[in-house]
């Protein structure tokens, strides 16, 4: 079913191909609105997408884009950011992509704290490959790949991020677009690695964690005087799952400089803007004489 959209400044000539009602729409709108509100010109933005329904967003956002490999978007974003620190670099990927194949990259990028924003689509399934359990699936979840119910306990991106030293950890819900938009804005403004993990109902394959499920349970940490500088408390909140499910900012640390600030060669103009002149070799050759 083709839907028609009114074209906004960050749209392309391609209409979204997601299932009607998919949680990806909410993330898409929030991301575009956040960029517009921050007044970042689209050519100064590079979004690196994973492979999945989530990654298909590559065709629907009119900034520079890179549709990466399954699981590999984070290191690509790190490389791009280090080479041109003036760009706003954002990663959009699924939970299968980011916590399955991409788990190692995620944790290591958190350790490095390069200034990128990671928007992870938590739908607890592999949408694009028709509904197998993702690493985020809740224990016992039945899917095509786990017909008897998944044995593993779920991977939880915010708690992993906090444990690994992430400097901005948050969770949104694609059913609350303006809240999510606010999170994305703050994440982009944060200097360092920022995680915006998003409950994104896959209306086609996940019949458990759907919109009503979250609507009944979520609350906003920022409405409850949560102390975002308390890492242990943040960890506790990140693990909260049941009748009440927290969203908002779990943890924020503005004291740790991003990766690129540590590099003397990164100071001044971005690397790629400097003219690429022939380097003199004599001082290097000197060491081999």
């Amino acid at each position: 079913m083709a839907m028609q959209f009114v074209k906004g400044p960050l749209d392309t000539n391609h209409n979204p191909t997601w299932c009607p009602g998919c949680g990806d729409f909410g993330i898409w709108m929030s991301l575009k609105n956040a960029l517009l509100e921050l007044k970042i010109p689209p050519h100064k933005v590079l979004i690196v997408y994973g492979i999945g329904c989530s990654g298909n967003m590559t065709n629907f956002v009119g900034t520079y884009g890179w549709h990466s490999l399954h699981g590999r978007s984070v290191p690509t974003a790190v490389g791009a950011k280090l080479a041109n620190k003036d760009l706003t670099v954002i990663v959009v990927a699924g939970d299968g992509d980011g916590l399955g194949e991409g788990m190692g990259h995620f944790i290591h990028a958190v350790r490095g704290n390069a200034d990128i924003t990671y928007i992870m689509h938590d739908n607890k399934v592999y949408g694009l490959t028709v509904g197998q359990a993702a690493p985020t699936a809740i224990k016992g979840y039945k899917s095509k790949s786990t017909p008897e119910g998944i044995i593993e306990v779920n991977a939880n991106a915010p708690s992993l991020a906090i444990a690994a030293g992430c400097t901005f950890v948050s969770k949104g819900f694609s059913g609350r677009v303006s809240h999510l938009q606010g999170l994305i804005k703050q994440a982009i403004q944060h200097r360092g690695f920022s995680l915006v993990d998003v409950y994104q109902p896959c209306v086609t394959f996940n019949k458990v964690n759907n919109f009503p499920f979250y609507n009944q349970r979520i609350y906003d940490l920022q409405q409850e005087n949560h102390d975002t500088s308390n890492r242990l408390k943040a960890f506790e909140k990140a693990l909260e799952w049941g009748d009440r499910i927290p969203t908002g900012i779990f943890y924020k640390d503005e004291s740790r400089p991003p990766y690129e600030d540590h590099l003397p060669q990164e100071q001044g103009q971005p690397l790629v803007v400097r003219p690429m002149k022939k380097r003199s070799l004599s001082h290097l050759i000197e060491e081999f004489i």
Partner: protein, 602 residues
Amino acid sequence: MLTTANGKIRLQTLMDEQDHVKKFSWKIGGEAGFGIKSAGMSFAKCCYRSGYHVFDNTEYPSLIRGGHNTYQVTVSSHPVHSVDEHIDILVALNKETVDKHQHEMTEGSAIIYDGDEFQPDVVFFRDKKITLLHVPFKKLSLEACGTEIMRNTVAMGATMALIKLPSSFMEDIMKEVFSHKPAVIESNIKAVRLGYSFIEEHYRDADTDFKVSLSVREKGHRMYVGGNEAQAIGAIAAGCNFYSGYPMTPSSSILHYMASKAVSEGIIFKHAEDEIAVLNMALGASLVGARAMVGTSGGGFSLMVETLGLAGITETPVVIVNCQRPGPATGMPTWTDQGDLRFILHAAQGEFPRIVMAPGDIEECFYLTVEAFNLADRYQMPVILLSDKTLGEGVGTVPIFDEKKVVIDRGAFIEDGKVPKDYKRYQVTENGVSPRTFPGMEGGIFCGNSDEHDEYGYSNEESLNRIDQVNKRARKLEYAAKFLESASVNLIGPEDADITLVCWGSPKGVIVDALDELPLRVRKRFRVLQIVVLWPFPSERVKSILEASKRVILIENNSEAQLAGLIRQMTGFDIREKILKYDGRSFFADEVAQKLIRLKCL
């Protein structure tokens, strides 16, 4: 030709007509942790500074402590690209060194050892007229610094005295090596001098069969550098400003060098979490306009494979060095092999263009790396440089790299502010190359897409678009092939030679050395066809050369004769005679000669 005691052929004569040393080999051996490599490199550098050409090879197991390590230096009065199979001076820091290498000793050679520690088996050596020189390494080391740690340094001093080079060359090197630790310079110099004077006092060359003695010559316009470092310097010369890596022997010294120069040369260096991240980071950097390189060995390259295809479909320039070691899997980490050729040519699913080149000596390591960056940018595709442990960890003397020969060509890209309306990053063009923009440029927005895409980069699975894009990418390779044609092979030797020896990569240096040692009238019967560009394969050139050859012999450091297979596939020419070696060691010039004798070529 001389024959050694074990009946093997030795091509070289030790002395020339004027009784000067032509070529000799020196080897030091001991346990890992004895400072074998640093001692070896110091000795080689002394010979280089004394005006000689050298080539080094180090053999070591994949261990940090213990295990048998050696460092060999072949010293020559003319250019040399490989180490010799035979040893004229053996410095044995333990008995195992003597036991393991006595069969390599030549008639009239010498062994320097510490007689307080062990006694070599004298009977064997008397037969071969080998001079045994006891130098109390341990005692003199204790005298120099209070511990045994400078046994290798004492041995260096002893060697210098034995071949009659001034001690000052070695003392200068100690000052340089320890410039960051001035406190130990004096004791190291003392150790050198103690070893030196021990030989001067206890050894009379007239009494022995050992004849190697060097006189200091004009140094010449040369440098002493390793293959991996040559590649790293080539990258820096080419303007490389992004290097990501993950350590893997024998490629790690590229990583070490780039890391050490990152701050001073303005290079982003990233030690990534794995090789998958390594190549993806490099693509991210290249996407935004950096000149990116990565280096690894076969195992790491295996992890990069899917991403190689991503570079292909997104048309993103990147330079990848694969410094080969014997596989599969972990294989033999510290040894050499040429077993990755077919893998590199076909790595990754689907069809996409790539350029694969192989340097044949240290000098080519430098110049080909520079060229690799230009090719990657010009044709917007991955360029893979295939070297191996022999070259990468090999260190030798080469003419000083000429920065005047370095050209930076970034290929087709649009300058900021000049992006045309309705810009299409993947525009279908005649030669397949479409000018790039870089994120940050106004009006240049595109999507670098892992999915098949249209001219803007957006996902597109239409039949006609697919065909257009596949053909566009393929045309780039045809375009590149035309440009690469002239430099795709090296043909060394007379056109009317009876025998054409075909090779790629490091065996080239060995073959050139082997032929150099032959008398002119014999040498004239050979020529060498070195294939430098392995992909796009220079089919026409190779075919016409081979068809015009009277006899063709392939020399390759692998068991499957992969180049022969490739040649047959691309030209229909079937090379029947093959000299293959796949024990993890590189060929020796003498060995190549011996094999040629067996094939009745000599």
